[in-house]
């Protein structure tokens, strides 16, 4: 569950990135966040990750007001939040298995848990055969699937994706969407920032459109609505 109430973010340099944003994404929902560049999508992302603090307003993740969480507790907050990026961000000197296991190691999971959980996640994203290969041996779509496996391996309740299909050809992009849909069906809330018009139009999910820091549209089964 993601909720923003009257959130405004003004940077020190005077740029007003978000203005009075009110929003609620229920648990298990799949939502797209669309809008032209500079609309405030990145700021939205950073506020959820608590990389930035809102100038005013409140942000709730699973009913917890994260604006009240101290800096020291931020890591524990982020464990409930899986993140995937357009550029995958895999570690080149680690195998597929190790890349996924890494996320568990740094939250100090036991090696028993790691041995059980990582193959399960790799199976889920269809990469069981590739466990011992290195990122450079994989295609773009496979890399993104590794990064998805890494994002969900600690069972976060929310997955946020920053243009996960931006670097992929249309066919591969659909494979990724299938995986995300599957994860969503297991009950994970997904918020995906995207510019992919065809994907948004076909998926028939909730679409939230940002422009100049304001929500200008929020439709339950929306379309992309831009011509870019």
């Amino acid at each position: 569950m993601i909720e923003m109430s009257n959130v405004t973010k003004k940077y020190v340099n005077g740029v007003q990135a978000l203005t009075n944003v009110n929003l609620k994404i229920e648990k298990g929902e799949f939502a797209f966040l669309v809008g032209p560049s500079g609309a405030g999508k990145s700021t939205f992302f950073k506020l959820l990750l608590k990389e930035e603090e809102p100038t005013s307003g409140k942000i709730y993740l699973d009913n917890q007001d994260i604006t009240k969480v101290s800096r020291r507790k931020v890591p524990y907050l982020r464990r409930n939040l899986g993140v995937i990026f357009q550029d995958f961000r895999l570690l080149p000197n680690k195998t597929v298995f190790e890349n996924v296991a890494f996320a568990m190691e740094i939250v100090e999971a036991s090696s028993k848990e790691i041995r059980r959980q990582v193959p399960m996640m790799l199976g889920m994203v269809g990469l069981s055969e590739r466990a011992n290969q290195y990122p450079h041996q994989l295609s773009g779509g496979e890399k993104q699937r590794v990064s998805i496996a890494r994002a969900i391996v600690n069972n976060p309740s929310i997955l946020i994706a920053d243009e996960p299909t931006g670097n992929l050809d249309p066919e591969t992009a659909w494979e990724i969407m299938k995986v995300l849909r599957q994860i969503n069906r297991r009950g994970t809330t997904i918020l995906m920032v995207t510019h992919a018009k065809d994907i948004v139009d076909v998926m028939q999910q909730r679409v939230i459109a940002l422009e100049k820091g304001r929500i200008i549209r929020d439709e339950a089964k929306g379309a992309y609505g831009y011509e870019d």
Partner: protein, 298 residues
């Protein structure tokens, strides 16, 4: 913290060291150099203090050396003059033969060396014990004007000079050490910065997956401490062997004259080991923490 985490932290620390071998060597070298200089200063100051203490046993006496060609009457007259002074408690006469015999005794086995003198080079002297050492200055001033006295030796001055020298060396040394340690810290923080840059991507992912700040920081602190410790060990070895060599060289050339005043190597190492280890790891830890504060926003 789990054992596996500790292992991970140490492994990453060593990987960082190895990845930037050049800078690691520079860091270790600068820590070692600073500590060696510190070692030199400690050796000087401790030895001077020790010498001063050894001399302190003769502290309350003033020694008056008599002119070479004084007759017995004249010698006795000088003795009376000294005895007449209010501040003098007791006067002892030491003939030059007696003085030579005393030297022979105190040099022990090497005493035979003194037999090579064809003529006794020493002088007859009076050893003056004072009621109160505070009055030494006045007594010395009076004695310097007495006929028949060649030289007045007053140990307190030597001791004061030694102690002044020790203080001077210590002050200059502390300033020098302070600067050297700052340099060492700066080099270590740069080395850690390189290690940080090499792991930027990894750290970025760690942050998003929810690694705690200290989980991210520890490997770098470990790296800095290891650098400092290796530097400290190197410096200890250099100080140990350097001092040992110097002691041997001095004993060989100057026989026993100095050895009584020099501290043995064990005492020296006892005083430096602990200090070096603490300083080395402290400088390392501080260096990396400075780097982390500046370059790692977690």
């Amino acid at each position: 913290m789990k054992i596996r985490t500790v292992r991970y932290i140490f492994k990453q620390g060593f990987v960082g060291l190895w990845r930037n071998r050049g800078m690691s060597l520079a860091s270790i070298g600068s820590v070692a150099a600073s500590l060696v200089v510190l070692g030199l200063i400690i050796i000087l100051v401790l030895n001077i203090n020790n010498a001063a203490e050894t001399l302190q046993s003769d502290f309350d006496t003033v020694r008056v050396y008599l002119e070479e060609d004084l007759t017995e009457e004249e010698t006795a007259r000088v003795g009376q003059v000294i005895n007449a002074l209010d501040d003098v408690r007791m006067v002892e006469y030491e003939s030059k033969e007696q003085a030579l015999a005393n030297y022979k005794e105190s040099w022990g086995e090497e005493g035979y060396l003194l037999e090579f003198f064809q003529e006794n080079p020493l002088s007859n002297s009076y050893i003056i014990h004072l009621w109160d050492i505070e009055t030494a200055h006045q007594v010395v001033a009076v004695l310097e004007n007495v006929d028949g006295i060649d030289e007045v030796r007053y140990n307190e001055e030597i001791i004061q000079n030694l102690l002044r020298m020790a203080t001077f060396i210590r002050t200059i040394g502390l300033v020098l050490i302070f600067i050297l340690i700052l340099v060492a810290m700066f080099i270590i923080s740069n080395t850690v910065k390189l290690a940080l840059n090499a792991r930027r991507q990894e750290i970025n992912i760690m942050k998003y997956v929810g690694a705690t700040n200290w989980f991210i920081r520890w490997p770098f602190v470990v790296e800095g401490v290891i650098l400092g410790l290796i530097g400290a060990v190197l410096a200890l070895l250099m100080v140990h062997y350097g001092y040992q060599y110097t002691l041997e060289a001095i004993n060989l050339r100057f026989t026993a004259i100095f050895s009584g005043y020099l501290l043995p190597i064990d005492t020296m190492m006892q005083r430096t080991t602990y200090m070096f280890v603490v300083l080395g790891s402290g400088v390392g830890a501080l260096g990396s923490i400075i780097s982390l504060r500046k370059h790692l926003k977690v």
